[in-house]
């Protein structure tokens, strides 16, 4: 297990490097929220989810919904690392003619099942998938990553109510609780605390973790899978911009990309010398 965790930590480090390089190249996109979510996305794709990069449409696959679609770089670097498409494609992020749109687009990117980017809609889609699997008696699981600012959307709570009501225990929501949104602190813009209690009130199983501790992430995902009779919300305390001190905990790096001066320092923080 220790080895597995160390492996995943190393993977996440490399994915952070890829995020920084990709965003530096595109000079457009979302840095902070991609770096805060990457440990969880990494654990899902390299530890938890059943999927097959050689066959993106494989029916037996678990589903992933990046509800906070602006963190697309975190998803894209992960999909590339899995082999869904060549890593060179990342350098075309957000460019005209590229299949890597600014926000996830299921029409063009292998491995992306749902279009997201307009916040607040992902959990409904994820629960729909979960209900569909149950209807068919299938054991596929569904994972959705949400932002804490995103929780301000009313539709999230309609989805939470529905998932609790239908006891969608094949659904797991991961809340990337980095405490920041565009206009500043989530608690100041529109307070969503206490997140765990809110999900509990809708009948969810709730697990609170440090979203950068790989051991805790894995154990929470395993517990979620074992829990029957209710969907699970993993409320993960994270740091926006995690891994690069220049970007950490700064709302101003929400939609700002590393510039030429910041790049070497950012890569150095991530233990990358090339």
């Amino acid at each position: 297990m220790k080895e597995k965790i160390a492996d995943l930590e190393e993977k996440a480090r490399r994915l952070r490097v890829a995020i920084v390089k990709t965003l530096h190249k595109s000079q457009s996109g979302h840095t902070g929220g991609s770096l805060s979510a990457i440990d969880m996305v990494c654990a899902l794709y390299f530890h938890k989810m059943r999927h097959n990069p050689q066959d993106p449409a494989w029916e037996g696959r678990d589903r992933f919904v990046l509800s906070k679609g602006h963190a697309a770089p975190a998803l894209y670097v992960t999909l590339a690392e899995c082999g869904y498409f060549p890593a060179e494609d990342l350098m075309m992020l957000r460019r005209l003619g590229s299949h890597l749109q600014g926000h996830p687009d299921s029409k063009g990117t292998p491995g992306v099942d749902v279009c997201t980017g307009s916040l607040g809609q992902g959990l409904s889609m994820a629960n729909g998938m979960a209900l569909g699997f149950k209807l068919d008696g299938k054991d596929n699981r569904v994972y959705a990553v949400l932002g804490d600012g995103e929780l301000q959307e009313g539709q999230i709570w309609e989805a939470a109510m529905a998932a609790g009501h239908y006891k969608s225990d094949n659904l797991c929501a991961l809340i990337d609780a980095n405490g920041l949104q565009i206009d500043g602190d989530v608690s100041k813009v529109m307070n969503v605390a206490s997140i765990g209690d809110k999900f509990k009130a809708f009948g969810w199983n709730v697990i609170e973790i440090d979203g950068h501790d790989m051991g805790q992430i894995i154990s929470a995902l395993d517990q979620a899978e074992a829990h029957k009779g209710a969907p699970t919300a993993i409320v993960a305390k994270t740091v926006k911009g995690k891994g690069v001190h220049l970007f950490e905990n700064k709302a101003s790096y929400h939609g700002v990309t590393p510039n030429d001066e910041e790049l070497p320092e950012a890569l150095r923080c991530l233990g990358c010398c090339d």
Binding site: R94, G102, D105, G117, S118, Q152, M190
Partner: protein, 310 residues
């Protein structure tokens, strides 16, 4: 040359000083929509509603019903999109005195891609009874439009852009709701345009002049109510119309003009806009070119329509 959203920020802050009934609401985009300028000056009259557009619309309706003049802002796709039914029921139906000022309309949002590019908001706002729909050409007109919207009693939708745009109108240009502007005279055809396409029409008209084609440029700053008088005059006097907008050709300015003329004065027409498809990621100038939203397309369409007239 400024972005219409910047002109909005300035105008709103200025108006806030003149009328303390004016309040502003935003949904976590106050830096981008420029309501932040107002928020800084009048913090107690600014409400950041968080990422919750539908709730923001309803809250604005409530504020209006107790005598405030709310301006609410977010990107066009989230205002007109997420808030559509709330805008219909809580603002337009009761004629609430709320101004929806949506920024980042059209494809010039750029790299964020199709999910963020609002190419149908003019159509869906125009379909709502009681709704006034304004799409300014430049910063000067935006300032006038914001002033006019504040003075007007009832719901107004103003659609603004992200990028800097060339000036069409001189400083101090007076904006009147429902009135179009003939920006250039001409007799062979009329470009009827809105938003950033008006500046392109001016360029196109100048180039066409050199080929001996005389194009009128009629800017429509208010899509609804449409300035029927000027549109009819253009149809009768020039006999050919080319509309242009940074929006779908379905239901926007082109649709409005076509609907009106088909009943009053059937006229040869061409619509320049986005042909019933979603946007893409790319730089805004690349996207404008990709979708043919420029003077070149207007020139081609003008040549063709004039040749068909004969």
């Amino acid at each position: 040359m400024i972005a219409t959203r910047d002109a909005y920020g300035e105008a709103l802050a200025e108006l806030g000083g003149e009328n303390d009934k004016i309040v502003a609401l935003d949904a976590d985009l106050s830096g981008s929509t420029k309501t932040g300028v107002f928020a800084k000056k009048f913090p107690n009259r600014f409400f950041n509603m968080g990422i919750a557009e539908a709730n923001m619309v309803g809250t604005a309706a409530g504020l209006a019903s107790v005598g405030k003049i709310p301006f609410l802002s977010t990107f066009a796709i989230f205002a007109a999109g997420r808030g559509w039914e709330q805008i219909r029921q809580s603002l337009a139906y009761p004629k609430a005195n709320v101004k929806v000022v949506a920024t980042h309309g059209g494809v010039t949002v750029g790299e964020d891609g199709g999910s963020h590019q609002s190419v149908e908001d003019i159509a869906i706002m125009r379909a709502i009874p009681n709704m006034t729909v304004i799409v300014p050409a430049d910063g000067e007109e935006t300032k006038g439009a914001i002033r006019a919207a504040a003075a007007y009693k009832g719901p107004v939708y103003v659609r603004l852009g992200r990028n800097k745009v060339a000036n069409v109108f001189p400083a101090g240009h007076k904006f009147e709701i429902g009135k179009g502007n003939v920006v250039a005279e001409g007799k062979d055809l009329t470009f009827i345009t809105t938003g950033l396409m008006t500046a392109q029409a001016v360029i196109a008209a100048e180039k066409l002049e050199e080929e001996g084609i005389s194009a009128r440029v009629l800017h429509i700053g208010t899509i609804k109510p449409l300035d029927k008088e000027l549109v009819l005059k253009a149809a009768q006097e020039t006999g050919a119309i080319v509309t242009a907008e940074e929006h779908s050709v379905v239901g926007g300015l082109g649709g409005a003009v076509a609907e009106f003329l088909s009943e009053e004065c059937p006229t040869l027409m061409k619509r320049v806009g986005i042909y019933d498809r979603f946007g893409l990621s790319g730089k805004s100038d690349e996207l404008l070119k990709y979708f043919g939203l420029n003077a070149e397309t207007l020139i081609e369409q003008a040549r063709e329509i004039v040749s068909r007239k004969k």
